[in-house]
């Protein structure tokens, strides 16, 4: 299915949900406690940047606002947003999103704007960080109860943990399976499944994931790869790659896509257009809407729900919006080295401070391991698509 087709399908799915009486809370930053919204009876839906929303922002945002927020604002200004019960903005993640929520409140005052403030000191090993986020989530929960008259239901919370965990376990397996054998399932299909769930987190989305997992499991079993896949999954979750066991004969070249809030499906669609490009070359992404959401640890049912959700959110690996460049580069090197990667494409959202600050360090980390890399400034509209495709094609040719 084409990228545009997938967008249409997920928009239609959401519309159907709204028409059936579901209340949707949209969110922009991918690391949100999905379980919280479900516990209050809402359907959380990740808002995506759309290729066709390149103007409409000009009344409120300067041209140097990051391409992602310009796109979101344009969608809303052009009436491309579905009716949402609320829209959750992150605070303290980056300056652009921080300011966008204030602008949104003024410009679209009928919209219910919610805010969740994140601690930046993610790697400080300090309990105060988790406590801060837990209290933020608790306050958000109170607001949802108060403003919508929808209380937090323990039973719904526990079901939500199961649902989200099934999504994560399934997609972690698929991601890991592709690292071991990228031909076992296409990258486009994996990220389509991830995206569908994040847009419409329902049992129907889970059914598709279950089906894909089952098919890949059978294939992997036949090829004797199940242990290897589990070793990769465990390594990524723990950050310790010493136990990774990859098959001896790996198809090369193997490349990784790194970056922040870039849409994995858009990347997959872009790569598809490149002549002589095989999707099996692309082994893994390190993107916020893909890898980083998938490899998040679930909340523990034994803990206080707010502390548990805070711990879960903070376990998402490697966001450039948080403290710890040296930590992130250490993880990146571990991944490149131990997963036998030869090439790295570093995507940068235009005018995105976190992406653009981190890119030189990622390049340096890759260079230290003799992994070839290329930087790719992007915007959601792919306004320079021809040039981007040519650059990627040339890069792939250098990998042989």
């Amino acid at each position: 299915m084409s990228y545009e087709g997938v967008i249409e399908q997920s928009a239609a799915g959401l519309k159907e949900l709204v028409e059936s009486g579901e209340e949707i809370i949209g969110y922009i930053y991918p690391h949100v406690p999905l379980e919280l919204f479900m516990a209050h009876g809402f359907t959380p839906s990740l808002i995506r940047a759309l290729p066709g929303a390149s103007s409409g922002y000009e009344e409120s945002l300067q041209t140097f606002a990051c391409a992602y927020i310009r796109n979101l604002y344009s969608q809303r200004a052009n009436g491309q947003f579905l009716t949402l019960s609320g829209l959750l903005f992150p605070a303290n993640t980056c300056d652009s999103l921080q300011n966008l929520s204030d602008i949104w409140r003024v410009r679209f005052h009928d919209d219910k704007v919610l805010r969740l403030t994140y601690p930046v000191t993610r790697y400080s090993q300090d309990e105060s960080t988790t406590k801060f986020l837990a209290e933020e989530i608790r306050l958000l929960s109170e607001k949802l109860s108060r403003d919508y008259n929808r209380p937090f239901l323990a039973e719904s919370y526990e079901s939500a943990i199961d649902l989200v965990q099934e999504f994560r376990k399934g997609t972690q397996f698929l991601y890991s399976a592709r690292v071991v054998n990228p031909r076992i399932i296409s990258y486009s299909e994996v990220v389509r499944l991830v995206r569908t769930f994040l847009s419409i987190p329902t049992m129907s989305s889970i059914s598709d994931i279950r089906e894909a997992v089952s098919t890949v499991q059978v294939a992997a079993d036949e090829l004797g790869l199940l242990d290897s896949i589990e070793s990769v999954r465990h390594a990524i979750l723990s950050g310790d790659y010493s136990g990774v066991r990859l098959p001896e004969e790996l198809e090369t070249p193997r490349i990784v896509i790194a970056g922040g809030m870039v849409e994995p499906q858009a990347i997959a669609a872009l790569m598809h257009e490149i002549p002589n490009f095989s999707e099996s070359t692309l082994v893994l992404d390190n993107l916020s809407f893909g890898f980083k959401v998938v490899f998040t640890i679930p909340p523990s049912k034994a803990d206080d729900p707010f502390m548990a959700m805070a711990k879960s959110v903070l376990s998402a690996p490697g966001e450039p919006t948080h403290e710890g460049l040296s930590y992130r580069m250490g993880v990146m090197k571990g991944l490149l080295k131990n997963l036998s990667i030869q090439g790295l494409i570093v995507c940068e959202q235009s005018f995105c401070d976190p992406d653009q600050f981190e890119a030189p360090s990622i390049e340096k980390a890759a260079c230290e391991l003799d992994v070839k890399s290329i930087r790719m400034p992007l915007d959601p509209e792919f306004s320079d698509r021809g040039r981007i495709e040519t650059r990627i094609q040339s890069f792939l040719e250098t990998l042989g």
Binding site: D102, I103, P119, V120, D126, F132, E358, P360
Partner: protein, 408 residues
Amino acid sequence: MTQERASEEKPYRRLETQSLLQQIAFRHGLEAMEASENGNLAWVTSGFPVEIPIAMNLGVVYPEQAGAIVGAQKIGPEVCGYAEDLGYSQDLCSYARASIGSTEKPEKVPMGSLPTPQILLACNNICGTVLRWYDAISEMTGAPVFLLDTPPLEKVQLPHNQEYVRRGVERLIEFIGSHFNRTLEEERIREVAELSSRATKLWIRALEACKNKPSPLNCADRFLTMAPVVSSRGTEHCAEFYESFVEEVEDRVRNGIGAIRDEKIRLLWDNIPPWHTLKFFNILASRGVVFPADTYTHAWTGNMVGTDTSSIIDEVVGVYSKVYLNMGLDAKVDKMCQLIEDYDLDGFVMFSVRSCKRYSLGQLVSKELVTERTGVPGVVIEGDMVDSRVYNAAQIETRVDALLEMLM
């Protein structure tokens, strides 16, 4: 706009105390070099609670101030270019690029490169960029980064926010203590807090003197004389400088002497100035335009009143969390409206700084809100604080002319 006149009858008056600034800057530079050589130098962001490292006997320098110096020397494009050569995008903060560039090639930036740091202390109350910038410097110099995380506030600081920031300040004291094997002495922090408070109160007095007509200070005066309160608050010589400064400012008020010779229009300035083109203010002075207030220099007005370590830490938590840029759009609009009312201003100029997103995104909206609430017109001009490559003088002139036509 007409060009700045070169003769003696310049439309603006130079402050006598400006000559003291050079002495302070020279002294500050020497002390920083000595601190670095002795393994005691911290680089700090401008919104950092500097009272703590100073009380723990560290030397401090401010890369943002060094960036302003790079801008003022008109070498911004060249120095930022060194950072761009390393892969840092031209879209990124030009203070950060100037800092990274001058760290990469200090020999090319004699006035604007800083001595090697032993630690890097960042507080994100002014923007989220500082952490990423200091991470980059850490990668280059090997100096560790400490981040004091002050999550943005909406109206008030909630208890969990206070508790989190308080723990951050305690961790800061532990970090400096373990890194340099020293403790925070109560007597010393009280002394530093008192000196900081003395300097800040004097600075506020000077700012408030500009409510008078004619205004004793123009924007460029304040941008230059803010340097010590940014870089040396908490020291004796900083407080002494502001005593002399306030004396001169209040003397001007007593004698009806304005910062410009013929004050006709009073405007508000929003954002960091174009350091490379401070003459912008002098050119406007020749048309009778003065800027008695601005949002930038009013940012250093948080006052410490604590009397012991615990209460001083509480003060740090409150004062440094509630800085202008950490409070959201409503607070910015409130502040601008308040300044317009208090200083009896006729209009405002918003400088949209391309590389400063925290300060600049939202200006198009706040411009409308401020005009709606105060009834005074404003204009948005675009450029950059350090990087003059994105400063289009002709376009800015046209926009400012349009504003002045409305006011004349």
